[in-house]
Amino acid sequence: MERSKQPEKSCCAPARPARDVAVGPTGLRMLPIAQPPQDEPCCGLPPGPPSSPFERPGYRLCGFVDDFIETANGAVPLVKTTLDSADNRGTFRARFNIGRNNYRVAPGLYGVGRPDREAPVLVTANYKLSFDSLRQELAGIDAWILVLDTRGINVWCAAGKKTFSTDEVINRVQAVGLAQVVGHRRLILPQLAATGVAAHRVRKGCGFEVVWGPIRAGDIGRFLESGLRADTGMRRVTFSLAERLILIPVEVSLTLKPALWVLLVAFFLSGIGPEVFSLRAAWQKGLAVFAASLVGIVAGALVVPGLLPWLPGRSFYLKGILTGLAGGVWVATVYVARTGPYGAAALIFYTVAVSSYLAMNFTGATPYTSPSGVEKEMRRGIPLQAVAVVLAVVAWLGSAFSG
C-alpha cells in the first residue's frame, strides 16, 4: 500500500483530478459518480466512471458512438460528428501504414443526429478512414449511415476489388432490415462506388433506388441541401497537392522492406574487390549505396508525387528518371572522391533505377491512370530500369578493380 499513500488531509479526495478524466479511452460518456465518503479507508486513486448503460457483455462500446436510437429493428448507434484523439491517432497510424489493412468499423446501420423514417440513407465502406471522413461532414444533419463490409477497404478501391458491390449493398440492406427502419426506398451511394455497384441491379435486388452522391464526403451537406443534386465539381475527381502529399508516407513505408534486401545485397557487392572481400570496403561503399537509396526513394516516392503536374511527360517512369537523374548526379558528386568515376556512374544509374521504379509504382495511388496506360509504360520502363541496374552493378564492381 506504499504507492497509495497520499497527504493525510485529502485521502481519496480529488488530489489528482486529471487522472479521472483520463480514464476511459473508449470514450464512454462520463456520468456523474458519487464521491466516496471521507471516512472510508484510503483507497488510492478515485474510482473511474461507472459502466455505460449501453455496454453489453462481450462487446466494447466504440468511442465514436454518442447514444442509441430505438427503431423498428432495435437500437441503432448514433455517431459523433467530431473526431477525438483516438480517431486522430488511428488516422495517423493508417496514413503511416501501421495496421492500415485492419482499420475497420463493424458493418451495419448507424445514425447521426436524430434520424427519422424519412431521413436519407448514406452508404459507405467500413474502412475507418472512410467512415470518419463521412461522419465528420454530418454535423447538423439527421441521417442513417449504412456501413458495408468492404473488408476494411476504402470506397473506390473496394469498388474496384468488388467488395463494395451490388450484392453487398443488397445483402446489407436486407440484413439490417432497412425497409422497416425507413419509409422511403432510396440509398445515397458515393459516386466512386459505381465501379462496383450497378444501380439498376440494386433496385431489382432489394427495391431501393440508388442515387449517386458526390465523390467527396465534404460535398454531402450541399448535396442534401440542394435536393440530391450534384454539380459538375462534385462529380469530378481531383488530385491536388494536398491530396498527393498525404499519400507519401504509405508510399515510402512500402519501400522499406524491399530496400532492406537491396541494401544487404549492395553491402555484399560493395565488399568485393582485389582482396576478394573487404569488410571495410563493404561498409564504406555500402554507405554510399545507402545514401543513393535514400535519394532514390525521395526522388521517386516524394518528389514525383509532389511535383507531378510540373514534371514533363505523361509517363511516370520518365518523370522518375528525371528526378532520379538530378538526385543521382548530386549523390555522385558527393561520393566521387571516394568511389572514383566508375563508382559515381554506378550511383547515378542506381538512383535513376530506384526513382523510376517507385515513380511508376505511384500510378497505383493516383485517380487518373488507366490500367492499359500503366501496362504500356511498364513495358517501356521496366526494361530501362533493369538495364540501369545491370549497368550500376557492373560499374560498381568495376570501380573496385579500377582504383
Binding site: 473506390w156 462496383g196 475527381v237 511508376m360 497505383g364 491512370t369 488507366s370
Partner: protein, 93 residues
C-alpha cells in the same frame, strides 16, 4: 483533371450508340467527364484519353452499350498479375 493527363490512345472504352438509350447514367458516374449526354439524345464520348478504365459506366449501363476492360491502374498489381496470374494478384490499396 485538366492539369493531369495520362497516356493518349490507350483506353479500351467503347460505346455502341445503336444500343444506347440516352439515360445519362454513364455521364453521372464517370469521375472524369468522359461522356456527354444531351437532352433527348444518345451518349457521346468527348474525352477518351480522360478515361481511366474504372468500369463504372459499363457496370451502370442498363442496356450494355458500353464495354471497357476494367482494372486497377497500378504497377504493383500488374507486376503481380504477370508473375502470379490475374486471380492471385493484389496490390496494397
Amino acid at each position: 483533371m485538366e492539369t493531369l493527363r495520362y497516356l493518349k490512345n490507350v483506353s479500351t472504352l467503347r460505346l455502341d450508340q445503336e444500343t444506347c438509350i440516352g439515360c445519362g447514367m454513364c455521364s453521372t458516374v464517370c469521375p472524369h467527364g468522359v461522356f456527354v449526354v444531351e437532352e433527348k439524345s444518345k451518349a457521346r464520348i468527348v474525352d477518351l484519353d480522360g478515361c481511366m478504365e474504372c468500369g463504372a459506366c459499363a457496370a451502370n449501363c442498363a442496356v450494355q452499350a458500353i464495354t471497357v476492360t476494367p482494372g486497377v491502374g497500378c504497377a504493383a498489381y500488374i507486376i503481380q498479375s504477370w508473375l502470379k496470374g490475374k486471380a492471385a494478384a493484389s496490390c496494397g490499396c
